[in-house]
């Protein structure tokens, strides 16, 4: 059952230099209780998509040009702002990438966790503070009732990220959006946070939209994956299928360039070039200048996102490429 449906979302930025179509026709959904991974390099529209769901894109210069975001029967793009405020932080909560910049340095950790509960659940200061302590305990912060009175700078990076997670979970959201929750952390702390999030998901049963550029994190955490490139969804599928047989050359490239422990050492495979500037996306398939299999048709025509033959569990598998895996011919030399 779908908890949230994003339909043909287009979030564009109107700047002095021109229009930036950061999110340009994105359609996907998150099921109740599921973890959906959203993957792609920096600049491909992942974060703008999540900010659009929270309706936090600054306007101007941003504008929701088109689309719907259906959550519990309502279109989040059209609900009045006071209504949206009741949803934000309450039904849908968000964890940001940098635990340092998403905490306010002049308030105690407890104040910041309590704020959402006071606002949304009408708790008194004392009760909210008590609950804030419980939340810190839930996310595994040692000595939580002392920590609530401390300031962010007194906490380590891993503990700050736990505090941010506690804040997001304080009102028991139905959907948690986690934007690169482990990217800024050490591998050992990343492992701790991943274990924590897996445990919390089982305990609380909320749906999670996990945004990351690291497919290793996706493989461990997500059930379904959406791959984004240059403001569009290029592939979607359940995690086992997608890793077993990536259908889009971009997904294939992303998978191939992760340094793996069971691989022989030596040159790594790369995706040449960089994500194009939204100001001038290439004609045709937006990935074609970096694609190993690019043909004439890729430069002329933009492929549509089509549903392809079912994987297991009759789950939806979608891909936007002119060619099937078997039809692809390598046209560029692999380094």
């Amino acid at each position: 059952m779908e908890l949230i449906q994003v339909k043909d979302l287009r979030t564009h930025f109107y700047t002095a230099d021109g229009v930036l179509p950061a999110v340009d026709g994105v359609t996907f959904h998150v099921n109740v209780g599921e973890t959906l991974g959203v993957v792609g390099e920096s600049g491909c529209g992942k974060s703008v998509t999540s900010l659009s769901i929270m309706r936090l894109v600054a306007s101007p210069p941003g504008r929701y040009v088109n689309g719907q975001i259906l959550f519990q029967g309502r279109d989040l793009l059209t609900v009045p702002e006071p209504e949206m405020r009741k949803i934000r932080g309450n039904d849908i909560a968000m964890i940001f990438q940098e635990p340092m910049t998403s905490l306010n340095p002049v308030y105690t950790v407890g104040d910041q966790i309590a704020e959402a509960m006071r606002l949304h659940q009408g708790l008194g200061p004392r009760e909210a503070m008590e609950k804030a302590g419980h939340m810190l305990e839930l996310v595994g912060v040692p000595d939580p009732h002392r920590r609530v009175r401390e300031y962010p700078h007194q906490l380590s990076g891993g503990m700050r990220q736990r505090a941010v997670i506690a804040m997001a979970l304080s009102c028991h959201p139905k959907l948690l959006i986690a934007d690169e929750p482990t990217t800024a952390l050490d591998v050992t702390v990343q492992a701790q946070i991943m274990e924590l999030m897996k445990g919390l998901k089982e305990e609380l049963g909320m749906a999670t939209m996990l945004i990351t550029h690291d497919l290793g994190v996706i493989a461990e955490m997500a059930e379904r994956v959406v791959v984004m490139y240059a403001g569009k969804v290029v592939e979607e599928g359940i995690v086992d299928d997608l890793f077993e047989q990536p259908l889009h050359p971009y997904t294939e490239g992303l998978l191939a360039c992760i340094p793996q422990l069971d691989q022989p050492r030596g040159r790594l495979r790369v995706i040449e070039g960089v994500v194009p500037n939204p100001m001038n996306f290439p004609r045709g398939c937006r990935f074609n200048p970096r694609c190993l299999y690019s043909q004439e048709v890729c430069r002329m025509e933009e492929p549509a996102l089509v549903t392809v033959g079912g994987g297991q569990n009759s789950s939806v598998r979608r891909v936007a490429c002119h060619f099937g895996v078997a039809e692809r011919v390598r046209t560029k030399e692999v380094a």
């Binding site: 390099e41 050992t188 702390v189 493989a219 992760i258 793996q260 790594l268």
Partner: protein, 326 residues
């Protein structure tokens, strides 16, 4: 390791220590020390890469900076081509700096936003009086080409480039004076996975071409595996394990190395691994635990580990570990 007959290592670090004084009180007296690096010994062969791995705060960056004398060492020796560079007068050492360069972690903070790319890359040449303006311009475009940028980029500013491209600029700057040793301080940590592999391959190519020697600092073992010949694992200012790369990955000995290895996410949803999750954080280097510094987080710690500090023991084949289990 190759069968080359190597005369002497390019770099030998012996008993290196860096204790940062902590000032306090009205008179700013020294009230304690941060034992950031506390007795580190390793050597790097010519043309090879020594990977240095550990969590934030373990002292790996300080090792890199102390080796280059960017921070003053408290004790120990750093021998570069046999010469103890820590004992040289600064004026003489400065002339040697061209032979040892550094690539920094943050490609956003390590490039001056007011300088053009040409000025950034050309600056070391000016400082070391290594060529006329004409020669410099030629060298800059040569370097840009080497790192995969274009000659016309010289007049552009850092903000016009993506993170990966900026890191290329940082690498070009480090190579400007034809160094022998390059310290790469987490050169890919701030980059996307897809861009990481581009930069790792570039460093690899440049090493082959110019017989560069690298010290490669990173917080994850999977990144150093691809580039390193030897790997040293640091914990709280000490090296806990040193081994040839393949040996370290096939036979990790220190419980900390095991935990670091198992922390790496595996990009295969069907492979469910048993993960050793380290509890808690790295203790403060101001007040390091007695005995083995890792004992508080170690799942195999015994009574002995709490009181007695283990030495670095040689297991043969270049494999060293500091743990009472061995």
């Amino acid at each position: 390791m190759t069968g080359l007959t190597v005369v002497s290592p390019l770099l030998e670090v012996k008993g290196l220590k860096k204790h940062f004084p902590i000032m306090g009180g009205v008179l700013s007296k020294v009230v304690g020390y941060n034992y950031a690096v506390d007795g580190v010994t390793f050597s790097v062969e010519r043309g090879q890469t020594f990977g240095l791995v550990g969590e934030s705060g373990c002292g790996k960056t300080t090792v890199g900076r102390t080796v280059l004398r960017l921070t003053k060492a408290t004790a120990g020796e750093v021998r570069f081509e046999g010469k103890n560079i820590l004992a040289l007068p600064l004026s003489r050492f400065r002339r040697m700096r061209g032979e040892m360069q550094i690539v920094f972690q943050d490609p956003y903070a390590s490039l001056n936003p007011r300088m053009t790319v040409g000025e950034i890359i050309g600056e070391p040449i000016i400082i070391h009086r290594a060529g006329s303006a004409g020669e410099r311009a030629k060298r800059v475009s040569e370097l840009l080409d080497l790192v995969g940028l274009q000659a016309r980029d010289t007049r552009r500013f850092p903000h016009e480039f993506s993170g990966g491209q900026r890191q290329r600029i940082g690498i070009a700057r480090a190579l400007a004076l034809n160094p022998k040793l390059v310290i790469c301080d987490e050169p890919v940590s701030a980059l996307d996975v897809s861009i990481q592999s581009q930069i790792l391959n570039l460093l690899d190519e440049l090493q082959e071409r110019f017989q560069l020697t690298y010290i490669f600092i990173a917080h994850g073992l999977h990144v150093v595996r691809h580039v390193s010949d030897m790997v040293g694992v640091m914990y709280l200012g000490k090296l806990v394990e040193v081994a040839p790369t393949d040996e370290l990955f096939s036979r990790p000995c220190h419980p900390y190395t095991e935990a670091l290895l198992s922390a790496i996410p595996i990009p295969n949803p069907k492979k469910k691994q048993q993960r050793i999750v380290l509890e808690g954080d790295v203790p403060s280097p101001v007040n390091p635990p007695a005995g083995c510094r890792f004992h508080g987080r170690c799942r195999r710690a015994t009574e002995r580990c709490k009181v007695e500090e283990p030495d670095l023991k040689d297991l043969g084949g270049g494999h060293q570990v500091s743990c009472h289990l061995f």
